[in-house]
């Protein structure tokens, strides 16, 4: 049977099932196949806080959304065009996000009385007409998989488990994905158990063939490759990009990296990834707590390593005293905060941007640090290199604010030339710098960066003592002199302001915009998508996005003042807005949602439309 082939410019698919159903893996594979095809992609995994919540329950639902298109896209999509629901819980948990008309592929085998009851369905939604507005495809995913594997030498359990590959095969057929990489992947993954390689490949193919043959799927879709800059790409999550960026920092600075970390969701994966790459001179230490983790990183930095610590909000709250010490010591240190929903333990697997205040202000005394935030998964790579650059050049702690959304989301990444990456080499102090030619002054500053020398132990003739007590200018001796303290406090502030950061760029294609949307961090995608949509509908709107939160770009004040209205969407209660208002006395309008989820482009579009129209 030859099926009709329809061209689409974009598709959003959500795979949803029980935590045990392998939805993250299925989504990952689909994404990989899609990437091979040259579509632009953006993904959003969403999994429960529990390791394995009880099977079949709402809290146990795990999902993975992938958005792919023949043009460059900015978000994982607001609303799925297709939902794959492996059980009633997955259907119930995700139905609310589906626009009418969307396709739903359900695994009917799981729609048993018992499973329906678990989530409070008294009648099956497949039968009560409640799905009438959708295009529902009931498929016996489990039974067909088991059937397809009848003559494979695997247990019933293993056969059932392969149903996610059946689903993947079906979707791969529907969207004409190339499947070679999946075959290779399965061969690698199950190398130790060849019978499973065969079974999973068979399940995949059965799914593919099912699409090809069944009448229920009359149409096949194609999404053309996106016009993307030439080069080699891979799909990457924010956490993986951070790990690679840290390794790149090691290579480009020619310094050993010391990562001190204590596991915490959603930052742990950076530790996991880095611990695999010791060959780059990367030492990872799982410390006894977050304070020890940053302490060890600071100790290593004192010894001449690039010291890094990775954590999430609760961990940063514990590190404040040590960050304050690092400010006094004026040593390079990178602190990565993968933000999650707070306060307190909050919602550890959900996203939020509410640690900006803490990053900027969360220490005793005047203890300024540099703060930087990546805007997307692949941007994490460049942002952490920039954080390393600032730390190393300016001898200061730098806080990088990622969040759960960029950390676990993914997108295609144009691989950079290693040689094109910034040169991060530093010079350690090697000789006395006093006027007399014999004294070493550990707090004598570079006139431009105001950075002090990095004189590491092992350097003969530069033996010196530093600490957290106030230090005299130049000599670094303990000083209680009032004027010196005032000077040092101002100098530490000036050191941060002296960091060269690029001007913020404004995207205002027609130059007619009177409204500027200002964002930072992971809201880049939804804000950008909303602006595009508005512009497509004939409105003018300007977008500016901050990578540097401290210091702020030099032109920011001017930029803000050149618009009638400034809107600042944030996944917090207005933390950047507060800073901007204080600094520039601009009546910026905060737009805040604190739901543990990224903004949807649609909600921003409608909010912005209102501002554009009504001022």
């Amino acid at each position: 049977m030859t099926k009709q082939v329809r061209q689409l410019d974009r598709v959003v698919i959500r795979f949803a099932g029980d935590s045990g159903d392998g939805m993250q893996l299925t989504g990952d594979r689909f994404t990989s196949e899609t990437a091979q095809l040259g579509n632009d992609i953006s993904t959003l995994p969403n999994f429960p806080a529990e390791i394995r919540a009880p099977a079949g329950t709402l809290p146990g639902v795990s999902s993975f959304q992938v958005h792919f298109a023949d043009y460059d896209i900015l978000t994982p999509g607001d609303a799925p065009n297709v939902l794959v629901a492996m059980n009633p819980a997955a259907l119930k948990a995700n139905l609310g996000d589906l626009p009418r008309g969307a396709a739903i592929i359900v695994n009917t085998d799981e729609f048993t009385k018992r499973n329906l009851a678990k989530v409070g369905y008294s009648v099956s939604p497949l039968e009560d007409g409640s799905l009438d507005g959708y295009s529902v495809h009931p498929v016996g995913l489990t039974s067909m998989t088991v059937g397809a594997l009848a003559d494979h030498d695997v247990s019933k359990k293993d056969a059932e488990r392969a149903k996610n590959m059946f689903a993947l095969g079906l979707l791969s057929w529907m969207y004409s994905r190339p499947y070679e990489s999946t075959i290779t992947f399965l061969e690698r993954k199950f190398a130790a158990r060849p019978e499973l390689v065969g079974a999973n490949i068979a399940a995949f193919k059965a799914g593919w063939n099912f699409g090809e043959t069944t009448e229920d799927f009359a149409v096949r879709y194609e999404v053309k490759p996106a016009k993307m800059a030439p080069g080699t790409y891979r799909n990457i999550t924010g956490n993986a990009a951070l790990a690679l960026g840290i390794i790149a920092s090691a290579v480009r600075s020619k310094l050993p990296v010391f990562l001190g970390a204590y596991p915490i969701t959603p930052a742990s994966d950076i530790l996991h990834e880095l611990s695999k790459h010791k060959r780059f001179g990367v030492t990872t230490m799982q410390a006894e707590d977050e304070i020890a983790a940053i302490g060890a990183a600071l100790g290593a930095a004192y010894g001449g390593a690039l010291g890094i610590t990775t954590t999430s909000g609760p961990g940063v709250a514990l590190k404040g005293e040590t960050i304050s010490l690092a400010v006094a010591l004026e040593l390079p240190l990178v602190i990565v905060d993968v933000q999650r929903a707070g306060p307190s333990t909050g919602m550890p697997t959900k996203t939020e941007q509410a640690d900006l205040n803490m990053a900027l202000f969360g220490r005793h005394g005047e203890a300024p640090v540099a703060v930087i935030a990546p805007k997307s998964p692949s941007d994490c790579f460049h942002a952490i290199i920039e954080a390393s650059r600032i730390a190393l050049t300016h001898r200061t702690p730098v806080i990088l604010l990622s969040d759960n959304y960029v950390a676990n989301g993914s997108e295609p990444w144009l691989l950079p030339d290693v040689e094109s990456l910034p040169d991060l080499t530093v010079e350690f102090a090697s000789a006395p710098n006093g006027e007399d030619g014999t004294t070493f002054l550990p707090y004598l500053r570079d006139p431009e960066t105001l950075a002090r020398p990095w004189a590491i132990p092992g350097t003969a003739g530069l033996e010196h003592r530093i600490g957290g007590l106030e230090k005299a200018d130049k000599t670094g001796d303990i000083s209680y002199d009032p004027a010196n303290h005032d000077f040092m406090v101002r100098t530490r502030a000036a050191r941060i302001e002296a960091i060269q950061v690029p001007d913020v760029e404004v995207e205002d294609p027609d130059g007619e915009a009177r409204v500027l949307v200002l964002g930072w961090g992971s809201t880049y995608g939804p804000i950008g998508a909303a602006c595009r949509a508005l512009r497509q509908r004939g409105h003018s709107v300007a977008q500016a996005h901050l990578r540097h939160l401290a210091p702020l770009p030099g032109n920011l004040g001017e930029v803000l003042k050149s618009y009638d209205r400034v809107v600042i969407p944030e996944m917090n209660l207005g933390q950047l807005a507060h800073v901007v208002r204080a600094r520039y006395l601009v009546d910026a309008i905060p737009y805040n949602k604190v739901r543990g989820l990224p903004f949807t482009a649609a909600e921003l579009e409608s909010m912005l439309e209102d501002v554009v129209k009504n001022g």
């Binding site: 990989s32 790459h277 060959r279 001449g304 010490l325 003969a460 600490g467």
Partner: protein, 350 residues
């Protein structure tokens, strides 16, 4: 280490005590036991044969923690309780350095207790000197985790309700491989312990009884006064039967069936029942029993090296993992990085 000149091989330098005095004025109270420890350390340092620039003193906060300022080596006066953690990062990433931690009973055992026990279980290559004056000196006289139950201090006007730690028992419970005690006033003994500590691979935990003459004066007088010290102090010497007292009149025995150690009159005991000190017993129960000997009145206080056993240091294990990985790698770091970036599923657009 990549990116910096590999430190020159240790030169056989001939240094003197004076070389280890920094230009900073020493600011402890007149009469403080810290002076004696400082002098002992400064005059011991040349023995190490390590150039000054390879030596780092890391401390927390407290009177004792001012120590690094007075040593003409590298020094880091950090924050309260965190010195072991900071020193761990330094030591692990710089195996060429000799890293010493100076801490107080509050710094190490109150706020810093966790970092201390974790450094010990990991066996990080740190020489940890705990100045135990059984009081908070710098904050002017509150009780510490080694102060006696019932102690009256500024924060416990009717006596403390906390039973103290026995720092050596705690260290042994935390898997320490080197545990010793010495005393500020006995420079020779102090230096013999420093010597043993310096030679140990991994964490060397040294408790130093130190007099705070302002807030806890005389805490260890019985161990110092000519009239009592010989009868109170047990000087442990590896391989020697444990006897003490002015005339060797006391000895330590291990009563059959019992698990602890006890003190007896030497005359009443057959010589082969006297415990022969062996710091190298693998089983920590022996050193643990030794650590329980002293009474509240300081009688039967052993000093010297309680335990010294060998176990690879954390530094070594970590380092060899990194080195092994490096050895397997081929190509320049840039090439390796390029390889890593393009690993996994990639696609190319032309």
């Amino acid at each position: 280490m990549a990116g910096r000149d590999a430190p020159a091989a240790p030169v056989a330098v001939k240094l003197t005590m004076k070389d280890f005095k920094s230009d900073q004025e020493v600011r402890w109270c007149p009469g403080c036991g810290d002076y004696a420890i400082l002098a002992a350390v400064q005059s011991f340092m040349p023995e190490l044969g390590i150039p000054r620039e390879r030596i780092v003193f890391v401390s927390g906060i407290g009177c004792s923690s001012r120590f690094p300022y007075y040593m003409n080596t590298y020094g880091l006066h950090s924050i309260h309780g965190r010195a072991p953690a900071i020193a761990t990062g330094l030591s692990v990433s710089r195996p060429d350095l000799s890293v010493w931690v100076v801490t107080g009973d509050g710094d190490a055992l109150s706020i810093g207790g966790n970092h201390l026990i974790h450094a010990l279980r990991r066996n990080v290559n740190l020489k940890i000197l705990l100045f135990n004056n059984r009081i908070y000196g710098l904050t002017k006289g509150q009780y510490s985790p080694t102060s006696e139950l019932g102690k009256i201090t500024k924060s416990t006007p009717v006596g403390s309700a906390d039973s103290p730690f026995n720092p050596l028992s705690l260290a042994l419970g935390a898997e320490a491989t080197f545990v010793a005690r010495t005393i500020d006033s006995d420079r020779k003994h102090l230096q013999s312990v420093l010597r043993a500590a310096a030679e140990h691979e991994g964490s060397a935990f040294v408790e130093i009884y130190q007099n705070c003459n302002i807030f806890n004066d005389g805490a260890f007088d019985e161990l110092k006064d000519a009239g009592t010290r010989d009868d109170y102090l047990i000087r442990l010497e590896h391989g020697q039967p444990i006897t003490f007292g002015k005339d060797g009149q006391f000895c330590v025995v291990h009563p059959p069936g019992g698990f602890g150690l006890e003190v007896r009159e030497t005359a009443s005991v057959s010589p082969d029942h006297i415990v022969v000190h062996d710091a190298g017993v693998a089983e920590p129960a022996y050193a643990f029993a030794l650590s329980r000997l002293p009474g509240e009145d300081l009688r039967n206080t052993p000093i010297g090296v309680f335990r010294q056993v060998s176990r690879p240091s954390y530094d070594n294990l970590v380092h060899s993992q990194v080195e092994a990985a490096k050895a397997k790698a081929t190509g320049t770091p840039e090439e390796q990085l390029a390889g890593l970036l393009t690993s996994g599923d990639t696609w190319t657009i032309i």
